[in-house]
């Protein structure tokens, strides 16, 4: 059985009453000593900042677990859910505070950008692992667009800028096998 998928449509500019939630970028438990900060700017092909885009981060817990936990939308300050959602500000900037993922050192990132007919996927690598099929398949010049840069003087702070188009355009991903978990037919 194969059902045709419901098509995607643009997110539009008016999602602000519905999708952002308080503490969306505060994925790390309050006061957790291992908290890292990932921040940066979303910009377009003219170098202009892109405001009101929704960035969604999904990642493994520090122990490598990918089961997640409920409670992202109304955080209790203690649980680590693995999910963060932030909206880019008027200057295109965003900030996520989270815990470093266990296992492969990347965060999955989905970008929902007004002005696009569908979302984009990429990854935020905190370091490049020794073996990684994605990184190894990329031309060296494009690899750097997926690497969050540790900031000098910043305490566990990483800079990750996203360029939608043009020079130093971020690598965006497609998943030809649809990426779903195998299951009963």
């Amino acid at each position: 059985m194969s059902l045709p998928a419901t098509p995607s449509q643009t997110i539009g500019p008016f999602h602000g009453t519905a999708l952002p939630f308080p503490g969306g970028g505060e994925a790390a438990p309050v006061g957790h000593p291992d908290t890292i900060t990932v921040h940066g700017c979303l910009s377009d092909g003219d170098g202009a900042p892109v405001p009101e885009a929704l960035l969604e981060f999904w990642q493994a817990a520090p122990d490598g677990s990918l089961v997640g936990a409920p409670g992202s939308l109304r955080r209790d300050g203690a649980a680590f859910t693995g999910f963060g959602r932030v909206v880019t500000r008027d200057d295109g900037r965003y900030t996520l505070r989270t815990l470093p993922p266990g296992g492969a050192p990347y965060l999955a990132l989905c970008l929902l950008v007004p002005g696009l007919t569908r979302h984009l996927f990429t990854r935020v690598y905190l370091a490049f692992p020794e073996h990684d099929p994605l990184i190894e398949a990329l031309p060296p010049a494009r690899r750097a667009t997926l690497l969050a840069a540790p900031e000098a003087g910043g305490h566990r702070t990483y800079r990750f800028d996203i360029r939608l188009r043009g020079g130093a355009e971020t690598v965006f991903l497609a998943f030809p096998d649809r990426g779903g978990r195998p299951g009963p037919p």
């Binding site: 194969s2 059902l3 045709p4 998928a5 419901t6 098509p7 995607s8 449509q9 643009t10 997110i11 539009g12 500019p13 008016f14 999602h15 009453t17 519905a18 999708l19 092909g45 003219d46 202009a48 892109v50 999904w58 990642q59 990918l66 089961v67 997640g68 409920p70 409670g71 992202s72 939308l73 859910t81 693995g82 492969a104 965060l107 929902l112 007004p114 002005g115 696009l116 007919t117 569908r118 979302h119 996927f121 994605l134 398949a137 990329l138 939608l164 188009r165 043009g166 690598v171 965006f172 991903l173 497609a174 998943f175 030809p176 096998d177 649809r178 990426g179 779903g180 299951g183 037919p185």
Partner: protein
């Protein structure tokens, strides 16, 4: 196709900064929405066959801590009843194999009955309704079912096209069991004469795919003497299944 022609950009509403002022090749003679060119990546997306333990094969989970049952009724939470025709919208969220997507988050946002959003950037000269915000959430049940109570949103001007109106629509956001199944889309109402003239509905180039964005009137979802029922089933898939038919 239209996307290769010179683009004229305007600003505002769902088509914010979008291409198209002149007649195009959509079914109603409108130029289909292609988005803001300066935001479109130039490079094709890099195909990635996911490892069994790839992060994207799993998805965030949501539960009672995230969503209250009251969040599914957009007519609540204010001093009085909102203006407009009360509707019940429901259906099932399925994956490409027809399996229910259970316990996942469905989010909804919309204009009020006069076609106005509660948003600082909405300049449409239609009244706000003090009894309506236009945002809701729910979780799918064990059969993948979701259900919202709300009001039918009004049409509003599409200022990127001369004399164009957006048909009544609900914005939906959905998660699947894999992060790759993320979907943001719009639901439309059956028989709306504005549909073939809408640049965003017609941006889905395949006619059968476009029809899948239109709900059906379903008296079985009515609340008698209270609301009109519309049924809309949603099928999630990976990002590539619909890539071509969206005219991307």
């Amino acid at each position: 196709m239209a996307a290769s022609e010179p683009l004229v950009q305007g600003t505002g509403r769902d088509g914010a900064g979008f291409a198209g002022v002149t007649a195009g090749d959509g079914p109603g003679g409108v130029r289909p929405y292609v988005g803001r060119v300066e935001r479109h990546p130039l490079q094709p997306p890099v195909p990635l066959v996911l490892d069994p333990d790839a992060v994207e094969r799993r998805a965030p989970v949501f539960g009672a801590a995230d969503v209250s049952p009251l969040d599914a009724d957009l007519t609540l939470g204010h001093r009085g009843e909102p203006l407009g025709e009360r509707i019940t919208v429901g259906g099932r969220v399925l994956d490409g194999r027809g399996r229910p997507v259970r316990g996942q988050l469905v989010e909804l946002w919309q204009a009020n009955a006069a076609g106005r959003y509660v948003h600082r950037a909405d300049r449409h000269a239609a009244p706000l309704d003090p009894n309506f915000t236009g945002a809701g959430r729910c979780l799918t049940d064990d059969d993948g079912r979701y259900r919202f109570t709300t009001i039918r949103p009004g049409a509003y001007p599409d200022v990127t096209h001369h004399n164009a109106w957006r048909p009544s629509h609900l914005h939906f956001s959905l998660f699947g069991t894999a992060f790759t199944q993320r979907l943001v889309t719009q639901m439309y109402f059956p028989g709306d004469p504005l549909l073939p003239h809408d640049s965003i509905w017609t941006s889905v180039r395949d006619a059968s795919a476009r029809r899948r964005l239109v709900a059906a009137y379903d008296p079985g979802l009515n609340e008698p003497e209270r609301s009109l029922g519309y049924r809309w089933d949603i099928v999630l898939d990976g990002p590539d299944a619909t890539w071509a038919e969206e005219g991307r």
